[in-house]
């Protein structure tokens, strides 16, 4: 490693990038050596994604220089970047939804049968993809259509694709935001393997614990300026936070205890063939019910079924003791249920609507009369929520498309907070949000509890589940296989249930899951 230390693989110097109304990067430096994992840290909107988009040729810098192994280069487009050996896994996934996994991995580089006639060797394509996925220990069918995969699996396909390019520098923009512990392990061992081969990794994440386990050095950005580059081993998490946020964070999980009220929601034996099996639980006012489990455990599907977004075959939902038959999301919202969806790009944001119009979309009824929107009221309302979520944007008329990923997530949350609901289904609510903003989201949850709401929080981040829930359900294979009170829950016992299922009938469960039938 010392030999390569002498000459950096990549140097970016004095990078400046201005967007209309925003100075996204103001003279940022980044130096990356071969075989190191270099972490980029910063709050939402600090400029991390912008920096790596410049590196990968999405757009040019306004000024600044880029050197590869000491040689100045101009990266005009993503193809240039690929030629330099840079491949990027973007924050927002970029797969072709209607193509198969194998086709996506080798898009544009398909093995040819008869090159002259442009015939793809389909068998070879599938075989190569299968080998690649197997080498990463991924149980993904190379012939599955991408849009049928869950978001975490899609993410792993992206990673497989980047690895297959034989790149010398791989940029990963929040790769673990959608992954659970198990997949993160797979990813980390893949990264360790890459380091061995001398590949440089630029890694962006808001999960500071993984920064500690994975990172060699870290560069911290704040409001588009370079703050410091440090050795991760010599720096504590609190120090990193202070560099990012500019102050100390008092409490990471500001949990409050609210006296629990009546039961507001009860789900009885909710089932959907092959997806959900006999889901039963209840939820009380003032309570946060955390739902843990691996990706694919059926947590999102359960939330969507309750919200009326997907149908179910059997079982019923009761609100305030009365059976309800929720037929559509519109109906659910009318009944006072809100769902903050997991897949921000597909289900959350309306990219070409302004921040304001996104925030008020589900609440328009509250400030319109006879179909006409009271624009004054609407503006004030949106302004208030944008401010309380501290959405970083010059003004709320801006398209959500132009916001950083974390700020887009804040817009989605603001939309649902403003929708007058009193039962909230949060599906991975803090995905992609920086440490300080997470605390703000938790505080908002506290506010909701105080005003008598009830919350179901699906999360793949165990610390968050443990830190904020009053009660925790663990799901596996479409079933609830464990329930813990706040006091008795630990990472170990939750993970154990998530991986192995309920203790009493484990073997029975195994067969059922593999047969895919219901009891």
């Amino acid at each position: 490693m010392t030999a390569t230390q002498l000459q950096p693989f990549l140097e970016m110097r004095g990078i400046v990038k201005r967007f209309p109304g925003v100075l996204a990067l103001n003279g940022v430096d980044l130096t990356v050596y071969a075989g190191e994992v270099h972490v980029l840290l910063g709050e939402n909107g600090a400029g991390k994604s912008t920096l790596i988009k410049i590196l990968s040729g999405v757009f040019p810098p306004d000024s600044g220089t880029i050197l590869f192994q000491g040689r100045p280069v101009t990266i005009r487009n993503p193809h240039d970047a690929q030629l330099l050996g840079v491949s990027t896994i973007y924050q927002e996934l970029n797969l072709v939804p209607d193509m198969t996994v194998a086709e996506n991995i080798f898009l544009g580089r398909e093995p040819m049968l008869l090159r002259r006639f442009g015939l793809v060797d389909h068998k070879l394509l599938v075989r190569q993809a299968r080998e690649l996925l197997a080498s990463l220990n991924l149980q993904i069918d190379p012939q599955a259509v991408v849009k049928r995969l869950g978001i975490a699996q899609q993410q792993m396909v992206e990673i497989a694709k980047a690895l297959s390019l034989n790149s010398r520098l791989i940029v990963m923009d929040e790769p673990t935001a959608v992954l659970t512990a198990h997949e993160i392990d797979q990813l980390f061992s893949a990264i360790a393997e890459l380091k061995q081969r001398g590949v440089a990794i630029v890694y962006i994440s808001h999960r500071l614990d993984e920064v500690k386990t994975l990172g060699d050095r870290a560069t911290v950005l704040r409001d588009g300026t370079w703050v410091d580059t440090v050795r991760v081993a010599d720096t504590s998490i609190d120090q990193l936070i202070r560099m990012m946020v500019g102050r100390d964070l008092m409490e990471k999980f500001p949990k409050i205890q609210v006296a629990l009220g009546d039961e507001v929601l009860r789900v009885e034996q909710l089932s959907r063939k092959g997806v959900l099996h006999d889901i039963s639980f209840h939820l009380r006012r003032g309570e946060i019910l955390g739902i843990a489990g691996l990706v694919g455990a059926g947590r999102t599907e359960m939330a969507r079924a309750i919200f009326g977004a997907d149908p179910f075959d059997a079982g019923q939902v009761l609100m305030h003791g009365q059976p309800v038959d929720i037929k559509s999301p519109a109906h659910a919202i009318h009944k006072g249920i809100a769902l903050v969806p997991e897949d921000r790009k597909r289900h959350g944001i309306l990219a070409h609507l302004s921040i304001k119009h996104n925030i008020t979309l589900s609440a328009l009824g509250a400030f319109s009369r006879g179909g006409f929107i009271n624009r004054q009221q609407e503006h004030t309302h949106a302004q208030d929520y944008a401010a309380s979520m501290r959405i970083a944007a010059p003004d709320i008329e801006r398209w959500v498309h132009y916001l950083s990923g974390g700020n887009q997530q804040k817009v989605v949350i603001a939309k649902w907070l403003s929708s007058q609901a009193d039962i909230f289904l949060f599906d991975e609510p803090t995905r992609g949000i920086d440490v300080a903003a997470k605390v703000e989201v938790y505080q908002l949850m506290n506010e909701l509890l105080k005003r008598g709401s009830a919350i179901i929080m699906i999360s793949s981040e165990l610390p968050e589940i443990l830190g904020m829930s009053d009660r925790i359900l663990v799901m596996r294979g479409g079933r609830i296989c464990g329930e813990f009170l706040r006091a008795e829950a630990t990472e170990e016992n939750i993970l154990d249930r998530a991986l192995r299922g309920a203790p009493d009938n484990q073997s029975a469960m195994e067969t059922n899951v593999t047969n895919g039938d219901m009891t």
Binding site: P341, H347, L353, S362, W399
Partner: protein, 333 residues
Amino acid sequence: MSNAPAGDIATQPAAATHSHRFVVMLRRLPWGRIGMPLVLIAMAVFFGTINPNFWSVTNLTNVSRQISVLALISIGQTFAILSAGIDLSVGSLLALVSVACAQGMLEFGLVGGIVVGVLAGCLAGLVNGILIAKARIPAFIATLGMLVAARGLALTLSGGLPIAGLPHEFLFIGAGYLGPFPVPSVIAAVAFVVAYVLLSRTRFGRYVYAMGSNEEAAVLSGINVVKYKIMVYVVSGLFAGIAGVVLTSRVISGQPTLGEVQELYSIAAVVIGGGKITGGVGGIGRTLMGVLVLGMLSNGLNLIQVSSYVQNIVVGAIIIIAVYIDLARERRR
């Protein structure tokens, strides 16, 4: 309009040489908002210089009357395209409405005929909407079917012949004046205002943008997408109905052959104005710009005696250039 990209506003001054500063300043201008009006002014100056008649009140009055039918169907088209759909049937609907209006008028009198005409447009729009929103047939296909079928229905109802003998007073709608303004122009102007209010001030309008921007997210936000999609095509049919009545009055007969390829010009008007063909972006003001460009172009080219064959080439080129400029602007961001 209400959805024009915000943030085109110039902010920080650049520290650099004078010429650089000028270039930067130019780049920072809100081109999205002033680009089209500038093109219009440039065109007007160009045509006016070659043929001063262009500027005469008679000519401008004429232009406004000539574009009113295109304006009306383009308004409907704006709703369809904004919602990430399209309405290919509006041209044929002009013929169907015309025949329905004329036959209705012979049967029920002046007002009755107008009502029948407009209702025929709405009804066809309703059918489009149900096919698209309920049966989930892609808008392109559903309205393509309607394009063919509505023309066939118009020909069947009329036996392929013009329907004459309409009351003389009916001429007022197509050829009359309100003060100095031609009636069709007044109708189109009112329609623009109504559509503008609908799109920018009502929930319906907001939901049209929302469906066009991200339909799945719109559904999850509690929007009754089926209902509002149907409304979109009824609105488009309504404006085609009004346009059809105006056109029938101008030719003072029911004509089953009216309106051929007009649907394509209405789509052109929307995209020239800067509406995104995939939905979610655009607005009634932008469509107005597109209509004015097309109208002024054909009038101006006529005045400077460019043959109609060549005019088609120019219009085709303009459509492509307008969309290209829009894309290039987006890419630069």
